[in-house]
Structure formats: structure tokens, C-alpha cells
């Protein structure tokens, strides 16, 4: 397996989840992932330290997202629908899949400032130092945003029982799954 294919297999899923949380739209998330790898194909060879490939990919996707966001502010397209309407909605969706949708939706409801660091934190692929590198902010800022982002996330979970069917009062994994299973 060549390096590129290996890289795609290692990271495309995490990149998609990150992109989904940022763009709040599955098609745009897929576009972001594709664009990220196109840029890698064009410029990846310039990266001397190959161990930085992961950070490079997430940084690139994040920058592409920011660029798209800036462009869409200048040239607004149609109103972005609520994320739940745009998510795949198969009849056979299990409760677990619904949870994932709700998780992304909740992340999408967070302030933009917290969404990216918190998503990267929950994807568990990056240390807080790497998150700082990806987002190009100081380490202390990342810690602060993760902390405040978690507060905001949990408040949303507990204050919106109707929109958060999981009713995660204590947010214990067992309770969570039972509620939705």
C-alpha cells in the first residue's frame, strides 16, 4: 500500500467527522475531506517531517473550512438547514446512530470558537498540543476552550431535554445507551 493510500485509510474517517462538525452538512464535510487530500496530493511532498502528516491534514481541512466560511459570508448561498434535516435518515437507524447525529448536532450548536477544539478532543486523535497546532492558537487557549466548550455542551444537553432525547442528566455511558437503546 503506498503512502497516500495509507494516509487516506488512516485519517479520512476522522477528517470527515471533524469536517461534519465544522460544516454541519454531510456533503460539505465530504467535499472538505476530498479537497484536503487533493491539496495533500499537490503539496504534501513539501512536508519534510512525515510524522506531521496527521496535523497537516487536520490543519488543512480546518483552513479550507474557514476559507469556505469566509467565501459563503461574502456570497451567501441558500440558508443552511438544521443539521438533522440534512443527515442521512434511514428507517433502520438504530438508537445508537441517532445518538451520533445528536452528538454532531450538539457540537454544531456550540459557539464556533469551541466547536473545533472540542471535536478534535473527542475524536481523540490529537493531544491538546496538536490541537493547538491544528488551530494555530496557544496551548492555554486550547485548554480553556475545551473546558468552556464542555461546560457549554453539557448545559445544552441538560437544558434541552426535548431536543436532546438522550436526557443525559449524569451522562454516564450506561445510562446514555439504555435511554437510547
Amino acid at each position: 500500500m503506498d503512502e497516500f493510500e495509507d494516509l487516506v485509510d488512516q485519517y479520512y474517517q476522522a477528517l470527515y467527522r471533524f469536517g461534519f462538525s465544522l460544516a454541519k452538512n454531510p456533503d460539505r464535510a465530504a467535499d472538505l475531506v476530498q479537497q484536503t487530500f487533493v491539496i495533500w496530493a499537490q503539496k504534501g511532498h513539501q512536508l519534510k517531517d512525515r510524522s506531521k502528516a496527521k496535523t497537516w491534514l487536520f490543519t488543512t481541512l480546518y483552513r479550507e473550512h474557514l476559507g469556505n466560511a469566509r467565501r459563503s459570508q461574502r456570497h451567501p448561498e441558500t440558508e443552511i438547514s438544521e443539521v438533522e434535516h440534512e443527515l442521512p435518515n434511514n428507517e433502520e437507524d438504530s438508537g445508537r446512530k441517532l445518538d451520533a447525529q445528536r452528538a454532531v448536532a450538539l457540537l454544531g450548536e456550540l459557539d464556533e470558537t469551541f466547536r473545533a477544539p472540542l471535536t478534535l478532543f473527542y475524536l481523540q486523535q490529537h493531544s491538546y498540543k496538536e490541537i493547538a497546532e491544528v488551530l494555530d492558537v496557544p496551548i492555554g487557549t486550547v485548554m480553556s476552550r475545551i473546558s468552556r466548550g464542555k461546560d457549554q455542551l453539557r448545559k445544552k444537553m441538560t437544558s434541552e431535554p426535548s431536543s436532546a432525547p438522550t436526557r443525559i442528566v449524569d451522562f454516564q455511558p450506561d445510562n446514555f445507551r439504555k435511554t437510547n437503546g
Binding site: V8, Y16, F20, D99, F121, Q124, V142, M143, L153, F171
Partner: protein
């Protein structure tokens, strides 16, 4: 470290324990070992984080995404040949509108008057065409100079970004009417000439440029303030490196890095058609180094 600080730090501790050996968490974890309540808090925090992380990992990935990534890349390398061929064929069928040639000639005539072409000599059509074409090119260069190197307003370049300067320098270098003021293969001779004219010379050069042969140099006048800049050209392995120096105050140079970071800038730089470009600044001047090569080759001069 107090308990609140420990909680703050440990909120960035990944639930899968990947950060267990990270020194930044050591002090907070040591506190956890001594404080039962803090220990319970951390267990709860990690459980919540793990639950959310697990749920997030269930986000469905589009089935065709992996293939789509490879298809996009194949498309970007394979398709163009066929696509281009179709396009070339289609474009070949496009006919210019009738009268276009006359309109071009009429426009050139107007331009000729603008640049006050002497009219008392009769010229053949070919000579006139040559002259007007040259005049048009001169006008183009003058516009370029006006905007970027001679400046139209008192502070015309203050908001100009390094990227815009980069494009303009490339346009200047690629102009068929571009020429050097002095051609000499000795760097010292180039610097002497620039010094004589009170033009800037680089106080520090990237290592790889120091011993190179010179090609030549040129006086650049920048902005309405007539700030004085220099272009110095060097040669290595048949490739020419162009170094443009201009006063820092004439453009928005806040984001520009120092020479020690120019190599990494170079790796990040966008290749502008055939040109690789990097840039840096010191307290007084901004520097743009350009060459027709891959960015990694340009990085080798640092």
C-alpha cells in the same frame, strides 16, 4: 496547583489515556492520587468524555467517500488530457467577432495618442505595429510601476499585501521589456553600484546565496514617497534567484517573518505558476526571493 486548576488542566486529558505520559498532566494527576474527591471527579469526567467520544465515533461515514477521494485525485491527473483536448477542439471553432481587428487597431491608435507618439514621421504598417505594441507594453509596465513601484497615492502601498507585491514582481520579471540596470557576475560589483546610488543592499543573505555569482541588479522606485528599492539577481546551476528589497513601511508587512523562518515559509508557499516565492522582513526592509523552481529547491538556499 490547587484543585480547581487541576480540574481545568485535566479537562484536556483524553479519555482514552493517551496523554498519560504527558508531563503537563503529571502534577494534576499527582494531586488526583492524593485527593479522593478529585479522583472521583476525574473518573466521572473521563466516563462522560469517553461516552461522548464513542458516540461521535459512530457518525456514519458515507460509503463512497473513500473511493470518491481516489476518484477525485485520478480525475485531477487523468481527465485533463482528454478534457483539454475537447476544450482545445471546441475553442478552435470559436471565431472572433467581425471587426475585432479594426477595433484593436483603433484602440492602439488612441493609446498611441495618449503616450504622445511623434506623428511627424511616416511609418510603414509593420513599424507602426511594432511601435504601438511596444508602447502598449510600456504603458502596461507603467501601470504596474504606478501601482506597485511608483505608487499613485501618498500611502498607496501601505495596505498592499506581500502577496500582491509577489504577483507584481513576477509580472515585472516576466515582462518582455524587463531589463536590468547593471549586469555583472560579481556580487561585490552589484552592491557597489547599488551603494553608489544609495539603494538598499541586503545586510544578511540566505547562506546559499552568499557565494553565488551575480547576474545583475535594478533600481526600483516604490510608491509616491519614491521609496528606493533594489532588485538583485543571482545564479546557481543555471537558475536565477531574484531578490527584491523594499522599505518595510511601504506595504502591510506585519505578518512577515524573519529570515530564520523564511525557509519554512518557503515550504508553505504557494507555487505561483512556475515561480516559487518566499519572503521575510527585518526592522527596515522586506525581502522577496523568487525563482522559477519548486519551493523545496528554493528552500535549499537557506
Amino acid at each position: 496547583m490547587d484543585k480547581e486548576r487541576a480540574k481545568f488542566v485535566l479537562q484536556s486529558f483524553r479519555p482514552d489515556g493517551e496523554d498519560g505520559n504527558e508531563p503537563a498532566f503529571a502534577e494534576a494527576l499527582a494531586l488526583v492520587a492524593k485527593d479522593r474527591e478529585l479522583g472521583e471527579w476525574l473518573a466521572d469526567e473521563r466516563a462522560q468524555d469517553a461516552a461522548f467520544a464513542a458516540i461521535l465515533s459512530d457518525v456514519e461515514i458515507p460509503e463512497d467517500l473513500r473511493n470518491a477521494i481516489f476518484e477525485v485525485l485520478e480525475g485531477s491527473t487523468d481527465q485533463p488530457a482528454e478534457f483539454d483536448a475537447d476544450f482545445v477542439g471546441a475553442l478552435a471553432l470559436v471565431r472572433p467577432p467581425e471587426g475585432l481587428r479594426d477595433k484593436i487597431l483603433a484602440a492602439m491608435e488612441v493609446e498611441q495618442k495618449v503616450v504622445e507618439m511623434p506623428t511627424h514621421h511616416k511609418r510603414g504598417f509593420f513599424k507602426t505595429m511594432m511601435w504601438t505594441t511596444s508602447a502598449a507594453a510600456v504603458v502596461a509596465i507603467m501601470v504596474f510601476v504606478a501601482v506597485f513601484f511608483a505608487g499613485a497615492g501618498g500611502n498607496a502601498l501601505a495596505g498592499t499585501t506581500p502577496k500582491e507585491v509577489e504577483y507584481s514582481v513576477i509580472a515585472m520579471l516576466e515582462s518582455p521589456f524587463f531589463s536590468l540596470d547593471l549586469e555583472n557576475d560579481r556580487q561585490a560589483a552589484l552592491y557597489d553600484w547599488l551603494n553608489e546610488k544609495s539603494l538598499p543592499t541586503p545586510p544578511q543573505l540566505p547562506n546559499g546565496l552568499r557565494e553565488l555569482k551575480g547576474v545583475g541588479c535594478k533600481f526600483l522606485e516604490i510608491g509616491d514617497q519614491k521609496s528606493r528599492g533594489s532588485l538583485i539577481c543571482y545564479k546557481r546551476n543555471g537558475k536565477v534567484f531574484h531578490l527584491v528589497m523594499m522599505e518595510r513601511k511601504v506595504l502591510a508587512a506585519d505578518g512577515m517573518s524573519e529570515i530564520k523562518d523564511a525557509e519554512s515559509e518557503c515550504h508553505d508557499c504557494d507555487k505561483n505558476d512556475e515561480w516559487a516565492v518566499t519572503q521575510w522582513a527585518d526592522a527596515e526592509y522586506t525581502y522577496f526571493l523568487l525563482s522559477k523552481m519548486e519551493p523545496k529547491e528554493l528552500a535549499e538556499v537557506f
